[in-house]
């Protein structure tokens, strides 16, 4: 459905029922919102590959499936490659004339969490993008290995406590900064790369549509607030995501052809990051006097990134 003709979110969210409401994701999990938007923003047929992770274990437990479309899961790391293989088969069969419905339009999409995208499946994603398959990879970035109980990933921000980088008497949690996956994927020369957020649903749907309509490999990192591991009330998912985008912890932007950067959302008032941090259990310990320097470091990082994004947007490089 063309996003420009959509009146409101309610209409949009029920426009194309291909992802069943019956699934096992936690109440308040943003994954289902993001997946539903992707599936609603196109009328094309979809072939979806999904890495092992929360989304996969919650939507395809035999004998049930939440997917009213072609769907495949192989392993933790290889959804991008599964999509590559399916896309190659589509091209071969189209050429040979062996498709049942040769005129059906089809889009190939892969989903992965940050564990499978930033870490274990990094090579598979990089390879698939380098090969130029016509598909869109969407990372559901909840900044930890939520499916296995909240371990650190290379997407976990500095200062967050996770079960394998715990805040304790002598530790403030994760010591390392979040990996800049968007920059890495842009550096592959992918024709469309973006970072999007489900609270800005129209921007997100437009971004999804751009990716689906762009020929070649596209990468989108979406912030997916994790009620279980970030520790907040399930009813606050969108409120928390508002704080993430408005504090600029999660800037919303796109990079076209590896160089043309556009900021897609500028908060009218920038929310102090303490409000975002304080709304989640995983950052509670940062408000102890001895951890104040971590908050300062987070703030410094936000300022630097926002400055960089604005300069790049201006310079068109």
């Amino acid at each position: 459905m063309a996003i420009t003709s959509v009146k409101n979110l309610k209409e949009f969210s029920t426009s194309n029922e291909r992802f069943e409401g019956a699934h096992l994701l936690c109440p308040g999990c943003a994954h289902s919102m993001i997946v539903r938007e992707l599936m609603n923003c196109t009328d094309d047929n979809l072939v979806i590959a999904t890495n092992t992770g929360c989304l996969e274990v919650s939507t395809a437990v035999y004998p049930y499936t939440s997917w009213d479309t072609s769907w495949i899961h192989i392993g933790f790391e290889n959804a991008a490659t599964a999509a590559s293989g399916a896309e190659a088969m589509y091209k071969a069969r189209k050429r040979k004339g062996t498709l049942k419905d040769p005129d059906a339009s089809v889009k190939f999409v892969a989903f992965g969490g940050d564990g499978s995208t930033y870490d274990i499946g990094f090579q598979w994603l990089s390879g698939a993008v380098e090969r130029g398959h016509d598909f869109t990879y969407i990372c559901l970035d909840n900044e930890n290995y939520a499916n296995t109980g909240g371990q650190r990933s290379s997407s976990t921000p500095i200062g967050a406590t996770t079960s394998t980088a715990q805040a304790g008497r002598v530790s403030y949690g994760k010591k390392e900064k979040k990996k800049d996956m968007v920059a890495i994927m842009a550096a592959h020369g992918a024709p469309y790369v973006a970072q999007l957020a489900p609270n800005k649903w129209k921007i997100m749907a437009q971004g999804f549509q751009k990716a689906l309509e762009t020929k070649g490999p596209c990468f989108i990192n979406t912030v997916s607030a994790c009620t279980t591991e970030w520790k907040f009330d399930p009813k606050d998912t969108i409120h928390l995501t508002d704080l993430a985008t408005d504090s600029l912890m999660f800037p919303v932007y796109e990079i076209i052809n590896g160089h043309e950067l556009n900021i897609l959302y500028r908060p009218k008032t920038i929310v102090p990051v303490e409000e975002y941090l304080n709304a989640q259990g995983r950052y509670k310990h940062l408000f102890k006097p001895e951890n104040k320097h971590v908050i300062e470091e987070i703030k410094k990082g936000i300022t630097e990134t926002w400055e960089m994004l604005q300069r790049r947007e201006e310079a068109r490089v």
Partner: protein, 410 residues
Amino acid sequence: MAEKYEINQTEVWDGNYAAAHALRQAQVDVVSAYPITPSTPIVENYGNFVSNGYIDGEFVMVESEHAAMSGCVGAAAAGGRVATATSSQGFALMVEVLYQASGMRLPIVLNVVNRALASPLNVRGDHSDMYLGRDAGWINLDAFNAQEAYDMNLCAFRIGEHLDVRLPVMVHQDGFITSHTAQNINPLQDEDAYKFVGVYQPVEEMLDFSKPVTYGAQTEEDWHYEHKARQHSALMRSTRVIDEVFADFKALTGREYKRVESYMMEDAEVAVVALGTTVETLRQAAKELRKEGLKAGVIAPRCFRPFPFDQIAEVCGDAKAVCVMDRSAPGGAMGAMFNEISAAILATGKRPLVTNYIYGLGGRDFSVDEAKRIFKEQKAHADAGHITTQIQQFSGLRGPRLGFFESKRS
């Protein structure tokens, strides 16, 4: 349409080139591959066919063997013919996805050009990669020479894609000895080969949008067991189709294959069991020993999986001593094939003297002379009425003799 490839009635091809031609003739839709010695030329030759218009399908050169098999799984689920090739470490990297391919019942053909597993790093042929994947739920066919590498590939598509089977198939050939040794080969013409393999029939395909499918679902203790049992059952019952396909192949080419190949076993007093090129070495030794009056025979499982449990004992006949040769480091046990052959014989109530040789690791040569010595050793067991050596021994190993387990006589 792909260009027709002019083929002579007899060609001089090595095992890799023969396999590459079989993939071309089967008009594979997607090859997703990563090169590794000694299987690389299969992929390179296939790439050459692609670049010169002999193939209509897609050739996806991925960034690792894990991705190669992952690409094969995605492609096969999208409803077309899929094949690839690998060896050794590459095979080891693929193992995770091998189980997923068979669990999803996708008829992929994988050429395994057998090579040792590191460490120490070694590019030469042994069967440790074959053994690593033996429980992965694939049909395993073994080629003993380049002609068979070609023939088994054509049969593999027919078997795996059969609607009663729908399982992936590995075709094994020995690294270098088969893969890089040019031999006279009688290939089929392109039309005949394709006619034999047949048009691919998609089943539960992801590109039929009128009927969405979910591949790779999760099952826990409630359903996993039933799925794995059905998969095993399909594998066990694939023997009927394998026999049928081999019969059709014989009608077409005159070349006869069986799930267990036996050589001069009708009246054999002693027998040796092996896989790969060693089978031909053993046959030569047996032929020569027959002239000296030793009734020697050779048993070779063509079909390593499903393991021809019932046929083994039958083929053993009344042999008094049977030696099983494993070309893979046993890792703290008797050789794996020794165990399987012993169990098959034991189930029939026959009691030949069964011993085990480990041999040829990392490409160590196995000669006709050594084969003869082993046959004669079996004769010594048979004459003595008991095992006269240790039960597990090592053939062709430098240094002091190595062996394990004494035969206890009551």
